[in-house]
C-alpha cells in the first residue's frame, strides 16, 4: 500500500499528511485531527451526520477519500465559532431548542451553513429541502427549520448594523 501525501486546509490551518489510499475524509478529521464534532452515522451517504463544507459546499465526509480532498478548504463544526463567540447558526440552534440528542446537529448546521453561503435569505421550503439531507429522529425538523430562519435573519441584521 502506498501512502498518499496531501495538504488540506481545515478550519483555517494547513495540514500536511500522509494518508492511506482508502482513508476517508471523515477518518482524517476525527482520528488524525481530533475534530470529533463531525459524526459518522451510516458511513454510506444516507444520513448526513458527517456533512462538512468543502470549498464552501456541503459534502459528505464519509463519501470522500482524504486523497481527493488534497488542496481543498474544509470547514467543520469546530471552525464555525470565532474565539468564544458562537456562530449565529449555533446560537440559533441553542436558542430555538433545535437540538435533542444532538448527533445530527453538526451535520445539520454544516448543511445550513452551505445553504446560507448560496442563499442569504432562504425561504422555509428551501430550508426544508436542504435539511432533508440530514436524518433527525428527535426534533421532527420544525425547530431546526426555525433556527435556520432565525440565523439567516440574525446574520442579515448583523451585517446591517
Amino acid at each position: 500500500m502506498t501512502k498518499v501525501d496531501i495538504k488540506i486546509h481545515v478550519n483555517g490551518d494547513w495540514y500536511e499528511l500522509a494518508v492511506n489510499p482508502g482513508e476517508r475524509l471523515i477518518d482524517v478529521l476525527r482520528d488524525r485531527l481530533d475534530l470529533s464534532g463531525t459524526k459518522e452515522g451510516c458511513g454510506e451517504g444516507e444520513c448526513g451526520a458527517c456533512t462538512v463544507n468543502l470549498d464552501g459546499q456541503a459534502v459528505l465526509s464519509c463519501l470522500i477519500l482524504a486523497a481527493q480532498a488534497d488542496g481543498c478548504t474544509i470547514l467543520t463544526i469546530e471552525g464555525l465559532q470565532k474565539g468564544l463567540e458562537l456562530h449565529p447558526l449555533q446560537k440559533a440552534f441553542v436558542g430555538e431548542s433545535a437540538v435533542q440528542c444532538g448527533f445530527c446537529t453538526p451535520g445539520m448546521i454544516m448543511t445550513a451553513k452551505a445553504l446560507l453561503n448560496n442563499e442569504a435569505e432562504p425561504d422555509e421550503n428551501s430550508i426544508r429541502k436542504h435539511l432533508s439531507n440530514n436524518l433527525c429522529r428527535c426534533t421532527g425538523y420544525d425547530r431546526p427549520v426555525k433556527a435556520v430562519l432565525k440565523a439567516a435573519q440574525d446574520i442579515k441584521e448583523d451585517s446591517n448594523a
Binding site: D27, G43, G45, L63, I64, L65, A67, N133
Partner: protein, 294 residues
C-alpha cells in the same frame, strides 16, 4: 485505518494518456473514481464484492464542463449533478427532463460530488439521469489508448452495473442534440418518500416532438423495471404519427406497462411497479405534451 473502505493504491493521473496507461497496466481490480459517491459505499470484505486494488481519480482531468456548441450540447463526464441541475441549458422545454432528473437524484449534498458520467457508468437499473438522456438520444464519447469512439446511450448499458466501456476506456463526454422548438420532455420519479433520499420504485422520462399537429417523434424511457434503463419501443410506436389523443396516451401507457419486466424487492412488488409504469408514463407524456406547445 477505516474499516469501511479499503484500496491498495490511489492514482491521480495528470492527463488522459497517464489515465489510460494506469487502466491498461492494472486491468482487473481497478476502478475509476470521480465524485466517489457510488464507490465509497462499496465495502469489499463487508459487502460481497471483489476487492478494489487500484483507484484512478479522474476528477481533475478537466472533464467538468457544460458547453453549448452550434449543433449540440456537451456535458463533461465529471460534471456534478448539481451543476447540471442549476444550468439554464436544461430549463428549455425540450431538455427540461434532464433538469428534473438532476433535481430528483439523491440529496443536494450527494449531488455536490456525484457526477453525470458516474451515474451512467455505475449503470444502475434505476439511474435517474439515464432516462432523460435516453429519450434525448444522447451519444457518449468514450476514449481509450486506441482513440475516441462514439456510443449511443441506447447501446451503452449491457446489464446491471455493466456497460459497453472496455477496461482501458473512460467516458469523456455526453452529447445532446439541440432539439426543435416543438419538442417537450419530462421526467418523473416515484419513490417511497418523495422528499427524501431513496432510489426509484419506478422512474420515467418522455420526449415528444410535434409537427403539423401530429406527433413526429416520441421517446419513452423506463427505469427500475428491468436490468437496465431502456427505451419502451412498442409504446413509442403507439404514439408516432398520431394526434396524441387521450385514448392514444392511455394505450401507450398500457403498452409500456406490458413491456416492463419488473421484479419484487424491498421497495415494491413487481405488480405494483407494473401498475405504476402505466400511471407514470401517462403523467409524463401529459407533461411533455404541454411543453411542446400543444
Amino acid at each position: 485505518m477505516s474499516v469501511y473502505f479499503q484500496v491498495e493504491e490511489y492514482h491521480r493521473p495528470q492527463n488522459l494518456a497517464q489515465a489510460f496507461g494506469i487502466l491498461s497496466k492494472f486491468g482487473n481490480g481497478t476502478k475509476v473514481i470521480a465524485g466517489g459517491t457510488d464507490i465509497l459505499p462499496l465495502r469489499p470484505g463487508v459487502k460481497k464484492i471483489d476487492p478494489i486494488n487500484h483507484l484512478v481519480d479522474i476528477s481533475r482531468l478537466g472533464l467538468a464542463y457544460l458547453k453549448k456548441e452550434s449543433d449540440h450540447i456537451s456535458i463533461g463526464a465529471a460534471t456534478t449533478i448539481n451543476t447540471l441541475g442549476a444550468s439554464p441549458l436544461f430549463l428549455t422545454r425540450s431538455h427540461r427532463a434532464l433538469s428534473e432528473a438532476a433535481d430528483a437524484h439523491s440529496t443536494a449534498t450527494i449531488r455536490n460530488r456525484a457526477t453525470v458520467g458516474g451515474n451512467l457508468c455505475t449503470a444502475s437499473p434505476c439511474g435517474d439521469l439515464a432516462l432523460p438522456l435516453l429519450v434525448l438520444d444522447a451519444v457518449l464519447v468514450a476514449a481509450g489508448p486506441e482513440g475516441k469512439r462514439y456510443v449511443p446511450l441506447e447501446s451503452f448499458f449491457k446489464g446491471a452495473n455493466y456497460t459497453a466501456l472496455n477496461k482501458e476506456e473512460l467516458l469523456l463526454e455526453i452529447r445532446l442534440n439541440l432539439c426543435s422548438q416543438k419538442t417537450g420532455s419530462s421526467f418523473l420519479k416515484l419513490r417511497r418518500h418523495q422528499t427524501a433520499i431513496d432510489m426509484a420504485v419506478v422512474n420515467v422520462a418522455t420526449a415528444l416532438t410535434f409537427k403539423n399537429n401530429r406527433c413526429e417523434a416520441a421517446g419513452i424511457a423506463l427505469g427500475s423495471v428491468a436490468p437496465i434503463p431502456y427505451r419502451a419501443k412498442k409504446a413509442e410506436s403507439v404514439l408516432a404519427g398520431t394526434k396524441l389523443s387521450k385514448e392514444v396516451i392511455h394505450k401507450a401507457a398500457a403498452t409500456a406497462a406490458a413491456e416492463a419486466t419488473p421484479i419484487d424487492d424491498v421497495r415494491a412488488t413487481s405488480a405494483y411497479r407494473r401498475k405504476m409504469v402505466a400511471v407514470m408514463v401517462r403523467r409524463s407524456l401529459e407533461n411533455s405534451m404541454r411543453r411542446c406547445n400543444q
